[in-house]
């Protein structure tokens, strides 16, 4: 009456633990496989030989001094936003709103430049700009955090919506400031350079890179050695334990997300005052989302984030190089990024789970 059934062919169980070096090998294999797949994709499109493809990609970042500095600048900006989202993520608060928080910061900064012009000494103006950026970033981040802490409102969707509210706010301000309806705000104060972050060592991006480097170290220390960092890790790991030792969980959520917003605000400041000297809705350029991946891939370690953001920036620059050499669209870099991410995201499975194949032979 009953059909004969067999033991399942594949049986998946959760791993208790995988040695770090084995996990590292899995991840390296994933990156290599991803590079291979991305290379194959480009080879199929261009008909180049694979080695040339990689050589060309390398050129995208290292062939000239200028390209190298662009790589550094791109890496720094991506890294800065990744550092911003990290404390919130470590606390398991899914802040998908970095894009909006960066815009909010950038907008406040632009507003200062637009209205104050050169009425103040430059150092004072820049200080005011930093304060305004940080404050706006905090406001944009703390709204969803407030509702999360009190009513457990879904922060993933909330922060996502805040991004587009910010985009529209920027469009609104640009339309206010540029009466001709072009929707493009020209570079501000280009003659007086008021509110421009100074150029050091004749390198425009030197100060940006330096500031982000400082934030990286500070963030590492904050997460690893400060009481705040310790508290947010406990809350992220187990709210039960946090309550058991008397941590006020709501307070920690608000404080940590505010910090996240503040650094996003700084990123906005750097992108306006230190880079473009103007604002558009594409200020963050999708980095708000890519940063989440950078932070997640680095397992929230700021120093490893330097490597992951460098890897992604390098690939994007390399892909752009190929695109321009072979008259293809620049968006190929997004495709390559996507491929890399899929592989690294997927490889986590092999670190957390074990696949057992059927032991017994069928009877």
């Amino acid at each position: 009456m009953h059909e004969k059934t067999h033991e399942p062919l594949i049986h998946i169980t959760k791993r208790a633990f995988l040695e770090p070096w084995k996990a590292l090998i899995v991840r390296i294999c994933a990156v290599l496989l991803a590079l291979l797949t991305a290379g194959l994709f480009i080879v199929l499109l261009t008909g180049l030989n694979p080695l040339e493809v990689y050589a060309e990609m390398f050129k995208g970042s290292f062939s000239t001094n200028r390209k190298f500095w662009i790589l550094l600048q791109k890496t720094a900006m991506l890294l800065c936003i990744a550092l911003a989202v990290t404390p919130a993520f470590k606390m398991k608060f899914w802040n998908l709103g970095a894009e909006g928080q960066v815009l909010a910061g950038g907008l406040a900064c632009t507003a200062c430049m637009f209205y104050l012009k050169d009425s103040l000494p430059n150092w004072l103006l820049i200080l005011i700009m930093i304060a305004a950026s940080v404050l706006s970033g905090i406001i944009w981040a703390i709204i969803p955090a407030f509702f999360k802490a009190n009513w457990n409102t879904n922060e993933t969707l909330f922060t996502l919506m805040m991004n587009y509210a910010a985009i529209q706010l920027v469009s609104f301000c640009i339309a206010k400031w540029v009466p001709n309806g072009s929707g493009v705000l020209p570079i501000l104060n280009s003659s007086t350079k008021a509110g421009w972050l100074p150029t050091l060592f004749e390198k425009q991006y030197f100060l940006n890179v330096l500031i982000v480097a400082v934030i990286t170290v500070v963030m590492y220390v904050y997460l690893k050695y400060s009481k705040h960092g310790y508290e947010l890790s406990v809350v992220g790991e187990s709210q039960n334990t946090a309550k058991y030792i008397g941590i006020n969980v709501k307070k920690i959520i608000l404080r940590t997300v505010a910090l996240s917003g503040a650094i996003c605000g700084v990123s906005g400041f750097l992108l306006v005052s230190g880079t473009g000297h103007t604002i558009s809705t594409g200020l963050a350029g999708g980095n708000g989302f890519t940063a989440i991946l950078v932070s997640w891939l680095a397992k929230f370690n700021p120093f490893i984030m330097v490597l992951t953001s460098l890897l992604i920036s390098f690939l994007q620059r390399g892909a752009s190089q190929i695109a321009s050499s072979y008259q293809m669209d620049d968006s190929i870099s997004d495709i390559v990024t996507g491929i890399i991410l899929f592989f690294i995201i997927g490889c986590e499975f092999f670190i957390n789970y074990k696949i057992n194949f059927r032991k017994k032979e069928d009877k």
Binding site: T153, N154, T156, F158, Y164, I292, T337, G338
Partner: protein, 327 residues
């Protein structure tokens, strides 16, 4: 005045249709507990798949057959977007990867695919100029021949291309399946409590895969509608804009109900376009009005979380992967 209103309604429907496809697709996906933030990318891929196949077909023949134009592009859009959701499904369901991260990566990837092929398609074939698939565009835009003769009513409600009506039909069918059939009951159970569904003998993995892939394919039609019906068979990089995220917002606004999504999509479409119809608005006012959909979505999100009325909350397991032997 009446004419303006009629034009406004018709424009709202046109703006709302791609959103409706995206929202219904995402509702179907989320009902299984998968939060697919890759929807914006999938919609781009839906659009570009149609463009690529349509371009190859129109290039191969002197007189493109409108029916073939539609069949070819429709099928490729469905396949393209289904493949995209298959990537998402494999990573999140089989490999149990984090849904947020996977979805965001998929969006990056999908928008990249759209813009890349949109920008380099002509180059691959050694052509120059810009993409203009007039025959296919016209085929999609074709409306009932007698619509224009029915005066204002015909112009307002009957003058659209067929995909506009298909969107409504798809939403109604989705609503019927989710609420009235056994498959829908099982699907909702999977999204609410996969462990319960599993214990009841439902194949959780299969349900998640099918609803995510079908949902993705439906969302892809939104992109297809946009490139052929709305802009008539052309492609502009990033032309689709943030409509994908607006579709995700509608899912929340419509409280995960496909029928409410019909109205919500047209409402959001109306909010998107209304500034054109209100006289005396400055450019900046228009931008502020465009913020409205996001703000109302946030308000809905807050209110539902405070009220905690069980029927209005997201599917309980949304965003979590399921592993039977979890202890």
């Amino acid at each position: 005045m009446l004419t303006t209103l009629a034009h406004f309604i018709s424009a709202s429907i046109i703006q709302g249709t791609p959103l409706l496809y995206g929202a219904v697709g995402e509702i179907l996906t989320e009902k299984s507990g998968n939060l697919n933030l890759g929807i914006p990318g999938i919609m781009y891929v839906g659009g570009i798949s149609g463009i690529i196949s349509g371009y190859i077909y129109e290039r191969s023949t002197q007189a493109p057959n409108p029916y073939l134009c539609i069949i070819i592009t429709l099928l490729s859009a469905l396949i393209g977007s289904a493949l995209m959701s298959l990537i998402y499904s494999f990573l999140t369901i089989t490999l149990r990867a984090n849904q947020n991260v996977t979805g965001l990566a998929l969006t990056t990837f999908g928008i990249g695919i759209g813009n890349f092929f949109g920008g380099s398609l002509l180059g691959f074939f050694g052509d120059s100029g810009s993409i203009a698939l007039n025959a296919t565009g016209a085929a999609y835009k074709a409306s009932l021949p007698f619509a224009s003769k029915l005066g204002l009513f015909g112009e307002t409600f009957l003058s659209f291309g067929f995909l506009t009506y298909v969107a409504v039909v798809v939403a109604i069918i989705a609503s019927y399946i989710i609420n009235k059939t056994k498959v829908g009951l099982n699907l909702r159970a999977v999204g609410e409590s996969p462990a319960t569904a599993d214990a009841a003998g439902i194949n959780v993995t299969l349900y998640k895969y099918v609803s995510t892939v079908v949902g993705g394919a439906i969302a892809g039609l939104g992109g297809l509608y946009f490139v052929f019906d709305y802009i008539g068979g052309t492609w502009t990089n990033n032309g689709f804009g943030d409509r994908g995220w607006l579709a995700v917002a509608i899912v929340i606004f419509a409280l995960w109900k496909p029928k409410s999504a019909i109205f919500s999509s047209y409402l959001f479409g109306g909010l998107y376009i209304c500034c054109v119809y209100i006289p005396g608005l400055t450019n900046s006012d228009k931008e502020l009005i465009k913020m409205a959909p996001y703000i109302v979505t946030i308000v809905v999100l807050i209110l539902t979380s405070i009220k905690k009325k069980r029927e209005n909350l997201p599917p309980a397991s949304l965003g979590l992967s399921y592993f039977r032997e979890e202890r």
